[in-house]
C-alpha cells in the first residue's frame, strides 16, 4: 500500500520535474537545434517523451545513442581518467563493494555496465582467495590422513575448480568490452570463469533466475529507464539473490558538497580535455551525477521494483552510495 502510494507520488513528481524543465527550457527554444527538442517536453501525452542528458533535455530515444557515443569516445582512456578524477579512490570504492558482497566459491555474478571489467576481476580474485583459504582450512583440519584419504582428496580437488564461480560482464558498449578483454589478457586472468556479453540493462539477454549476484557499478545513471533496469535485475536473479549498486549520490555535508561541486565542474572537464582530449564527455559525466536521484529516492525505486531488505551505505561522505537489496 505504502509502496503504491509512493509510486504515485514519484510519478507525479517526475512529471512536474519534466514539465518544469520543459517550461524553463523555453527561452532556449529560439536559438539552436535543441529548441525544438526541448519544446517537445510538452507533448508528453502524445508519447514523445524526453529525458535528461546531463543538463540537456533530449528525446528518450536519443539518450541511449548519445550515451553510447560518450563511452565509445572515452573507452581507451577510461581507467586512466578514473584514477585521475578520483585520485585513485574509485579502487577503494570497488574494493568495498566486494567486501560487502563477500562472495563464496561457486557463486555466479552478473556485472552489468561492467565495461572494463573492474568488478569482475576483483570478484574472481576474491573468490580465488576464498577458495584458497577454504583449502588451507580443510588441510589444517585433517591431521595425518591415511593414504586412502589423501588419494580421495586429490580426485575431488580437480572437480572443485575455479570453473564453479563464473563472472559475466555485460555492457551495451562494444568498445568498453574490448578494452576490458584486453585488460584481462594483459593481466593474465584465465578466460575460464569470465564471459563478455553485449547487452542492454533494460533488456538483458539472459533467462530468469540465473544469477546469485547482480552488480552495476557507476552505470545505472546512464540508463534511460532506471526502473526497467531494476525490473530486469529482479528477473535474472535467483530467489535469494542479491542486487548491489555502486553509484554517485548526494553529498550530505554542505561544506564537502560545495568543494565537491567546485572540483567536479572546474577540474573534471579540464582533466578530460587534457588526458582524453574530450571535454564534453566529462562535462556530461559530472552533469549526469547531479541528475541522478539521491540515496533515499533510489532506495525507494529499488523497493518498488520488488526487492526486499534494501539498504544503502554512504562512502566518502555521500559522494558514492552502495545500495543493496535481495530477491526473495
Amino acid at each position: 500500500m505504502a509502496a503504491s502510494v509512493r509510486l504515485l507520488l514519484r510519478l507525479s513528481h517526475r512529471n512536474i520535474n519534466v514539465a518544469a524543465a520543459g517550461g524553463s527550457a523555453r527561452p532556449g527554444c529560439c536559438w539552436g537545434p535543441t529548441g525544438p527538442s526541448s519544446c517537445r517536453c510538452f507533448s508528453d501525452a502524445t508519447g514523445d517523451r524526453s529525458t535528461h542528458f546531463g543538463f540537456e533535455t533530449v528525446p528518450e530515444t536519443e539518450k541511449a545513442k548519445r550515451v553510447y557515443k560518450v563511452f565509445e569516445n572515452v573507452a581507451q582512456k577510461y581507467d586512466v581518467m578514473n584514477d585521475a578524477m578520483s585520485l585513485g579512490i574509485h579502487r577503494v570504492w570497488k574494493d568495498m563493494l566486494l567486501r560487502a558482497m563477500h562472495p563464496q566459491p561457486g557463486v555466479r555474478l552478473l556485472d552489468v555496465a561492467g565495461g572494463t571489467g573492474d568488478i569482475a576481476f576483483r570478484f574472481l580474485e576474491y573468490v580465488q582467495s576464498q577458495q584458497e583459504r577454504q583449502k588451507r582450512r580443510a588441510a589444517r583440519s585433517t591431521q595425518t590422513p591415511s593414504w586412502q584419504d589423501i588419494s580421495t582428496n586429490y580426485s575431488t580437488e580437480d572437480e572443485d575448480g575455479p570453473q564453479e564461480s563464473k563472472a559475466v560482464v555485460c555492457d551495451i558498449n562494444k568498445e568498453m568490452l574490448k578494452v576490458g578483454k584486453q585488460k584481462a589478457d594483459s593481466m593474465g586472468i584465465s578466460a575460464a570463469g569470465l564471459s563478455w556479453v553485449v547487452g542492454d540493462a533494460e533488456e538483458l539477454p539472459f533467462d530468469d533466475d540465473q544469477f546469485d549476484i547482480y552488480t552495476i557499478a557507476f552505470g545505472i545513471r546512464n540508463v534511460t529507464h532506471i526502473d526497467q533496469a531494476l525490473q530486469e535485475a529482479l528477473r535474472v536473479l535467483k530467489p535469494g539473490g542479491r542486487f548491489m549498486c555502486l553509484e554517485f549520490s548526494k553529498v550530505t555535508n554542505p561544506v564537502l558538497a560545495r568543494l565537491y561541486d567546485t572540483y567536479s565542474f572546474q577540474m573534471i572537464p579540464v582533466l578530460g580535455e587534457v588526458i582524453a582530449g574530450d571535454w564534453k564527455s566529462y562535462q556530461y559525466l559530472v552533469e549526469s551525477i547531479r541528475k541522478f536521484p539521491d540515496q533515499e529516492e533510489f532506495k525507494g525505486m529499488i523497493e518498488d521494483a520488488g526487492f526486499y531488505c534494501v539498504h544503502y551505505h554512504n562512502l566518502t561522505g555521500g559522494v558514492v552510495a552502495l545500495h543493496s537489496g535481495f530477491k526473495l
Binding site: 532556449g28 536559438w31 535543441t34 535528461h52 546531463g54 540537456e56 548519445r66 561541486d261 572546474q266
Partner: protein, 274 residues
Amino acid sequence: MSLCAVKGFQWLRQRQCVLFSKVCVHQLHSSPGFTDSCYDGLYPGHIHTTPIQKALLAVGSGVAALQNPYRHDMVAVLGETTGHLALINLRDRMKNDPEGYTILTERPRIRLSTLDLSKMASLPDGSFGREYLRFLEDNHVTPDSRADVKFVDNEELAYVMQRYREVHDLLHTLLGMPTNMLGEVAVKWFEAAQTGLPMCALGAVLGPLRLNSSRLQSLFTSLGPWALQNGRRSRCILSIFYERRWEQNLEDLRQELNIEPPPVILSAANKRST
C-alpha cells in the same frame, strides 16, 4: 546586438549557477551552455570556460604538450588559453590593414575543399600556389589537420586564432622551411616575433632542446637570427589574402611582405631524426 547581450547574460548566470549547483539544478537545466550542440556557445565548437578552468587548462595542456609534443591538440589548447592579449593585438593589426580588414569581414578558410588543387598544379613553377602544393606533397601534410578553436571566448578572436593555424603551412612555404624539427623551430621563432603568442614563444624556447648540435649551430648562427629579424620587420602575415594570390610569384610575394629568402636551403629529405 541584443542577442549577444542576452547570451552574455546567460553565460554569466551559468557561471554563478555552476558554483551553487545544488540549489540551481533546475535553473541550470534550462541554460544551453553545457550542451553537445555545436550552436550553443559563440561559434561552432565553442566551449564556455571559467577563468579557473582556463588556468587549469593552460597548465595541464602545457605539461601534456611537453611530455608528448605530438599531441597537437594540447599545443592548440595551450595557444588558446594563453593567447588572449596577443590575439587582440593581432586582430587590431589586421583591422588597420585594408587587406586584413577584408579577411576579417569575409572570413576565408583554408581547407582542401576550398582549394582548387588541379588549378594550382597547373600554375607555373615559382608561383606561390605551385610552391605551396609542392610543399604539401613533399612533406606529406594536408591543410585539414588543424584543430578547431574551442576555448576562445570571442567569436572574432577565435577566427583570428583559426586563421593563424591555417596560415602556418603557408608560412612554411613563404619561409622555405620543411616540416622537420629544425624547420618547425625556425618557423616558431618567426611566429613568436610576429605574433607574440605565448605558445609560440614557449615552442621557440623548448623546441631547440630536441635538436642535435649541428642543427643547433645552424639555428643559432644563421636560421635563428634570420627568422627573428624577419618576424619583426615583415608585414602582418595574417593580413594577406593568400587565397587570391596563388598566381603571384613567390619571390614577389616575399618582397611585398618584407621577408628575405632563407639563408640555408633545407630540404624535406633532411628528415633524419634529430
